[in-house]
């Protein structure tokens, strides 16, 4: 724009010093100024430190006299004549004796939009940074925007001026101008000097008051409170700020003043209290810390010095919904009084003392900047009104409140950091704040603040009404009714496929009907509960349908759950009976009658649908979820609730008879409910995955492809894993995939779009307490940001409520409450818990309830909900709901545990692991193993860490952030990898596990390996070795050494570890060492030994036959040994042979040696590890199957406790992540047979003589079988016995420390033989 200039002042800054030349004075910066200087040095071209003000002057004004007045004031105000230089002693300010007056004048009288053009000019000027070293650090402009209307603009760097300083400058300018206009002398200088300020600052900083103030602030904020921010996060200050200006109308202003006086407070106290209330509700923090800019001049020389003195101090307030507004205002009054006593201590110093600077943490949330400065001025009778244009940098959000007493009420500016707030958000905060102030000013201040929400009336209508407009009239049907109608309509259609089995609707219906009629004889009827504990199979589907057909509610009991858990649920739910596939599945001492399907004949029952007096209000199922106090709780869901859910789902996604739906979710999780029943209601096909199949992405991909599955569900973390599976791309038949159970990352949704472009991805959300899901969101390509959980389903309302149970406007986080038809009835037999989670609904129809989810969420402006986290300790891990309290209770219940806590850590991005912490003397490894026997797998921590004591925060609470990451570092004192493959695998293990170091004999699952990490490791191994490897093989070979051995061996990948010959280390050159298995038949235990013997020594494990395949077990040791001789000679046709065996393996090795010698071969080494000849055992009773189980457990490192049968043992192994657990049920069952078979054969065996010496290792620790002696071998050995005692028990022989000793002896002997 063109500036029309008055003649007098020329085209810009003029050069007319008022004072004679004199030397510049140099002063240090005050502490207040230093802060500004550092901020500016961080970003020299930033205009953020500009402050500016505009004065509207109405009346005749003489521009020349005005300039003269400014010149005089400039000469009087030292701070204006300052520039800042950096010196070796830090920054210093030079006060020049005079500076030219930087004033421009603009005559805009003729412009039609004079004010707008002036404001544009100001805005542009405000964006110009000052150069601190050059100065001057201020400038003026005078706009004539009308005949008798002027705008006086001044911009000053914040380092030299604050808001109060402006008021001094303005008053003095008006005074001088008025005097000049009246031809009078302006009077003597009224300002103090800048040196006064500097001196006062220095005096304070070396005073006792300074020390006392420091103590005050450090103590008051010792706990370093979390700072509530309206944006939910912090950011570095921007170079500019956003501003919204509004006025609190005269009436409201008057109301505020009256309220203030009634409460014996000031209007700023009331507004600060209102802002605290707003901030508390908008951030969900009961405690807020507001920043209060303080003028800092009371009782100080600075009252007369224009300069930079102001300080920002934290005001800490407790905003509780039960306190009244009057009480809150009182808190503000007292709080400010306290702050004022210590107000000279600098904000920057408090932050530094609290060590917030280094962590880049804030001290305060929003600032409330009250500026009641003395602007009652006139310019020779022309009145003036001041308007602030910039109050300095905005870190977060600043509410500036000016009292200008101009009849327009209070002016309120909301300044926001544009890095944190969009313009619309800032406007919304302002509008709500003003609205809140208005309501507060007219309300009784002596009622709890809970009566006030922060949403405006329009926002309330939106979030309660518009967003929840979901009402649909539906017929009163049940979960089962529509399935029976469907079966009647399409009896011949395929209803279910499981492996090679497939059932039509009629067949399924008939089977379910017969079983239902049987269940009715046991008391199954509407209102009763029937437990179902059947692995995924046709029988499971039949059983669930049968329960429903009988009218009862089903209670799914996961067969993999520990016995104790199952027993608890049976006692708690007291079902009329429990359906199970075979005997021994469920504990039998709970008094629940069992219906064992194996061998049950129901063919005598009528095949037609049973009639039952079932209504939508009756319960359909009871599903247990983790309970925070250690007791799982049963959620009772009615037919009406789940029917509503399935009707909505059908309407939303339109399943047809062409669809095939995958059933892979365990029946104990409620996602399985729609998997089971939705397809059967719609005539689609239910494709049932194998038990355990839900963990294996490769299996799932194959099943989906082979079975033409169109519809399935994934927990997001599993979807992520699935999508990287090579075969996932081939699942093009998928039409729709549903995600739920945990937050769906945008990256996963995007990856889905890339890998399966033909399929839809739907994000669903809901707790078990509201019939599976209550919201849905269809993921769109191209979308960004967090994936919303979406809009409510039919007849369902979502409320996002603040701490006072008032609705949050869009964008404001609050706790998510659910209301409507899908709410569960409550928790079985837990009226107290039910009444505290299902509570009265203040927004629905009378008498309705709402469910408190404990989830945090906010509404988008479009009416979708976004999940933000939890309000409590509940966590979701791989889609499964976990109450940390339950794990803590379980940990604390162990012997030797004094206290415990549990949490989910994400020490590496995307890898969440449940970790338990304990104090007391307990062995963390044993604690974890013991937990594995009581809790379902998903509740067992990946690691338990023992601590001396829990880290505490300054206020004595547990400091969770200070809990150490579990060190999943193996390899302590272990050997080095002995070949390239082992070396590569230890590296991959370490990478995938995030462990510092992994030794070749460390077990994946002991180092924090989870099933998801296992998938990742297998993928990496496949990449690196190009080898086929399944998840199962990692369970079978969980150490780098065993995995290396497996990768090195040929033969089918998943079974080779169980072949008779297990190549632990190949190679030729030296004669191999054959190591014969102990009682369990598996030779993996020699992997560590093999590794220690070095890469040159080939080692083969010899394993029992029958672990794979259907071969019969041997009848005698002689037969078994002959068999092994054949295998050994297939590898090494002729001697000399080297043989070794531990335990039963030693007896076998002796027998093999004898057989080889009898065949004319030479045996040069026979090494027995704590093995004793047959006759020593003969008179002792042979173990029963029970003892075999003990032996199996011992092989895995457990002492047997509650395990009654082989199912229990397998369960324990599986839950503990034992390598043995990775074996198929079949193989494990085989082991349980092999152990007693060996015991029997040993007792029947008769040794022949071995010609030669024996190398013997004795486990020398005292043992129960004190009758065992190696001397007994003398009868069967012609040579000597070279014994080596090891200080350990029999099972400990194969542990690292002892293996080292054994290997050393063996290696030496082998070396002699080689020589």
């Amino acid at each position: 724009m063109t500036a029309l200039l008055t003649d007098a002042d020329g085209a810009g800054p003029e050069h007319r010093p008022d004072a004679p030349d004199a030397p510049a004075v140099e002063l240090p910066l005050t502490a207040a100024q230093s802060g500004m200087w550092y901020a500016q040095s961080l970003d020299p071209p930033s205009p953020a430190q500009n402050t500016a003000e505009c004065l509207e002057i109405d009346g005749p004004l003489d521009p020349e006299l005005f300039a003269a007045a400014l010149r005089r004031v400039t000469a009087e105000a030292d701070a204006l004549r300052v520039s800042v230089v950096d010196s070796p002693d830090g920054p210093r300010q030079r006060v020049l004796p005079s500076v030219a007056l930087p004033l421009t004048t603009h005559d805009l009288r003729d412009a039609s939009d004079a004010v707008r053009r002036a404001e544009e000019w100001m805005r542009a000027d405000l964006a110009e940074p000052f150069d601190l070293t050059a100065g001057p650090l201020f400038r003026h402009a005078l706009f004539r925007v009308g005949e008798e209307r002027w705008l006086w603009y001044q911009r000053i760097h914040h380092l030299v001026m604050d808001g109060f300083g402006y008021s001094l400058l303005v008053r003095r300018t008006a005074q001088v101008y008025t005097a000049l206009a009246r031809g009078e002398a302006p009077g003597p200088r009224v300002f103090g000097t800048l040196a006064d300020l500097v001196d006062e600052d220095a005096a304070y900083r070396s005073s006792e008051a300074f020390t006392a103030d420091r103590t005050h602030w450090t103590e008051a904020f010792a706990d370093r409170p979390e700072v509530p921010r309206l944006a939910g996060r912090g950011a570095l200050p921007s170079r500019t700020f956003l501003r919204r200006t509004a006025h609190l109308g005269p009436e409201t202003t008057e109301g505020v003043r009256e309220l203030a006086s009634r409460l014996r407070a000031t209007w700023p106290d009331v507004l600060i209290a209102a802002q605290a209330l707003y901030t508390s509700r908008a951030t969900g923090h009961r405690e807020v810390v507001l920043g209060l800019p303080m003028m800092g001049r009371m009782g100080s020389v600075s009252l007369r010095v224009p300069g930079m003195v102001m300080n920002v101090l934290p005001l800490r307030l407790d905003v509780s919904p039960d306190a009244t507004f009057a009480e809150l205002v009182r808190q503000v009054v007292l709080g400010i009084r306290e702050v004022r006593r210590h107000q000279r201590f600098r904000y920057e110093d408090i932050r530094r003392d609290l060590r917030l600077l280094g962590e880049n943490r804030g001290l305060v949330g929003p600032l409330v900047n009250v500026m009641p400065f003395d602007y009652a001025v006139d310019f020779a009778g022309a009145p003036a009104r001041a308007r602030n244009l910039s109050a300095g940098p905005v870190d977060d959000l600043t509410v500036n409140i000016y009292d200008r007493a101009d009849g327009r009420g209070l002016r309120i500016d909301h300044d926001g950091n544009p890095a944190l707030y969009a313009d619309g958000e800032l406007a919304a905060h302002q509008e709500r704040f003003l609205n809140l102030v208005e309501r507060l000013s007219g309300a009784d201040p002596h009622v709890p603040t809970a009566a006030h929400g922060i949403a405006t009336a329009a926002e309330l209508e939106l979030v309660l009404g518009t967003f929840n407009d979901t009402e649909r009239a539906l017929p009163p049907t049940t979960l089962i009714g529509p399935i029976e109608s469907r079966a009647a309509r399409t009896p011949e259609a395929t209803a279910l496929v499981y492996g090679d089995t497939s059932l039509t609707y009629e067949e399924l219906n008939t089977r379910a009907n017969r079983l239902a009629r049987h269940l009715r004889t046991l008391g199954a009827r509407p209102g009763a509960v029937v437990a179902v504990s059947v692995p995924r199979s046709v029988e499971l589907v039949v059983s669930l349908l049968a329960v429903l057909k009988a009218g009862a509610a089903y209670l799914p009991l996961d067969p993999d759950y520990p016995e104790q858990r199952l027993a608890y649920m049976l006692r708690d739910a007291a079902p009329v009976c429990a359906v199970t596939d075979r005997a021994g599945r469920l504990p039998e001492d709970t008094g629940t009658p069992l219906v064992v399907l194996d061998g049950l004949d129901v063919s005598g029952y009528l095949w037609v649908n049973p009639s039952r007096p079932l209504t939508p209000a009756h319960p359909a199922y009871v599903i247990y979820t983790s309970g925070s106090t250690g007791r799982p709780k049963g959620v009772v869901v009615s037919h009406g609730a789940i029917d509503n859910r399935l009707r909505w789902m059908q309407s939303a996604y339109g399943l047809t008879s062409d669809d095939r739906v995958l059933q892979k979710t365990p029946s104990s999780f409620d996602v399985s409910v729609w998997e089971f029943f939705w397809p059967l209601r719609q005539g689609a096909v239910l494709v049932v995955a194998e038990p355990g199949g839900h963990r294996d992405p490769a299996y799932l991909a194959r099943l989906i492809r082979e079975q033409g599955v169109t519809t399935c569900h994934f927990v997001p973390s599993m979807l992520q894993v699935f999508l990287v599976e090579e075969e996932a791309k081939a699942c093009g038949g998928l039409r729709r995939v549903f995600c739920s159970g945990e937050a769906l990352p945008r990256e996963t949704a995007d990856a889905f779009g890339r890998e399966l472009p033909g399929a839809e991805l739907h994000n669903l959300y809901g707790p078990t307490e509201a019939a599976v899901d209550v919201t849905s969101h269809a993921c769109a390509a191209e979308a960004a940001g967090p994936v919303p959980i979406g809009r409510p389903v039919w007849n369902t309302r979502l409320y996002v409520l603040d701490a006072a149970l008032q609705p949050c406007p869009p964008g404001i986080p609050g706790e998510l409450y659910l209301a409507g038809r899908q709410l569960a009835e409550g928790y079985l037999n837990r009226p107290g818990l039910t009444a505290s989670r299902f509570v009265a609904d203040p927004f629905g129809r009378p008498e309705e309830r709402m469910y408190r989810t404990g989830d945090l969420a906010h509404w988008t402006a479009q009416g979708e909900a976004v999940y933000l986290g939890r309000t409590d300790d509940q966590v979701k891990l791989r889609g499964q709901r976990i109450e940390l309290g339950e794990i803590e209770t379980a940990l604390t219940a162990r012997d030797g545990v004094d206290a415990a806590c549990a949490l989910v850590r994400e020490d590496r991005p995307g890898e969440q692991r449940l970790v338990g912490y304990i104090t007391g003397g307990a062995d963390p490894v044993a604690v974890r193993a013991s937990l594995a026997r009581e809790l379902p797998e998903h509740l067992v921590p990946a690691a338990v860490v023992a601590l001396e004591a829990f880290p505490l925060s300054p206020n004595g609470k547990l400091d969770r952030r200070a809990l150490p990451a579990p060190v999943f570092s193996g390899g302590a004192g272990s050997r080095r990898p002995s070949n390239a493959r082992e070396e590569a695998l230890t590296r991959l293990f370490a990478q995938v596990l995030g462990a510092d170091r992994v030794g070749p004999d460390d077990t994946f699952f002991d180092l924090g390996g989870t099933s998801l990490l296992a998938v990742r490791l297998v993928a990496r191994v496949r990449e690196e070795f190009g080898a086929e490897l399944t998840i199962g093989s990692l369970f079978e070979s969980p150490t780098p050494a065993t995995l290396a051995a497996r990768l090195g061996s040929s033969g089918p990948a998943s079974e080779d570890a169980l072949d008779v010959v297990l190549r632990l280390r190949g190679g030729d050159g030296r004669p191999p060492l054959f190591a014969i298995h102990p009682a369990g038949g598996i030779a993996w235990c020699y992997a560590g030994l093999s590794a220690r013997l070095g890469p040159e020594q080939p080692v083969y494990g010899i394993q029992a036959r029958g672990l794979v395949g259907d071969e019969a077990l041997p009848r005698t040791l002689q037969e078994e040994a002959s068999d092994y001789v054949r295998h050994i000679r297939a590898i090494q046709e002729h001697g000399p042979y080297r043989l070794l065996g531990w335990s039963v393996g030693g007896v076998l090795a002796h027998t093999v040696a004898v057989l080889l010698q009898e065949a004319g071969e030479q045996v040069e080494l026979l090494a027995l590890l704590d093995a004793f000849p047959a006759e020593q055992w003969r008179e002792r009773p042979a173990p029963e199957e029970g003892d075999a189980l003990t032996a199996v457990l011992r092989m895995a490192g457990f002492e047997r406790t509650h395990e009654r049968n082989r199912e229990d043992v397998l369960g324990t192994l599986r839950r503990a992540g034992s390598p043995l657990a990775g074996l198929s049920d079949r193989a494990l069952s085989k082991i349980v047979d092999i152990v007693p078979n060996h015991a029997r054969m040993m007792r029947e065996h008769h040794h022949r003589d071995y010609e030669g010496d024996l190398l013997f290792f004795t486990a020398a620790a005292p043992r129960a079988e004190d009758w065992l002696t190696r001397e007994a071998w003398r009868a069967h050995v012609t040579g000597s016995i070279d014994n080596h005692d090891l200080d350990c028990t029999h099972p400990q022989l194969m542990q690292d420390r002892h293996l080292d000793d054994i290997a050393a002896v063996l290696a030496a002997r082998l070396k002699e033989l080689d020589a």
Binding site: R286, P321, D322, P448, A450, A451, G627, S628, T629, R631, K633, A803, A804, L805, E815, N829, R830, P831, G832, L833, T834, A835, S836, R837, F838, V839, A840, D841, P842, R845, P846, E847, E848, R849, R852, T871, D872, D873, L884, G885, E888, C901, K957, L958
Partner: protein
């Protein structure tokens, strides 16, 4: 070890912070004393401390 301070969490020791509400269907609801009682519900017990309300909800002391 959670430090709850939500509307349904226990308040300061001994303070009468909660009510037990009931509706005509016999449903019960814990309720904070500072919030207006929703339509259709009436006060069955309280104001009383959280623990007392919890006890009133479970007379047989089957406490969670």
């Amino acid at each position: 070890m959670s430090a709850g301070s939500g509307p349904f969490d226990p308040g300061p020791e001994g303070r009468a912070t909660h009510l037990v509400l009931a509706n005509s269907l016999g449903r019960l609801s814990l309720w904070p004393v500072w919030r207006e009682v929703p339509a259709g519900w009436s006060v069955r017990f309280g104001p009383a401390p959280h623990a007392a309300c919890a006890a009133a909800l479970e007379p047989d002391r089957q406490q969670d």
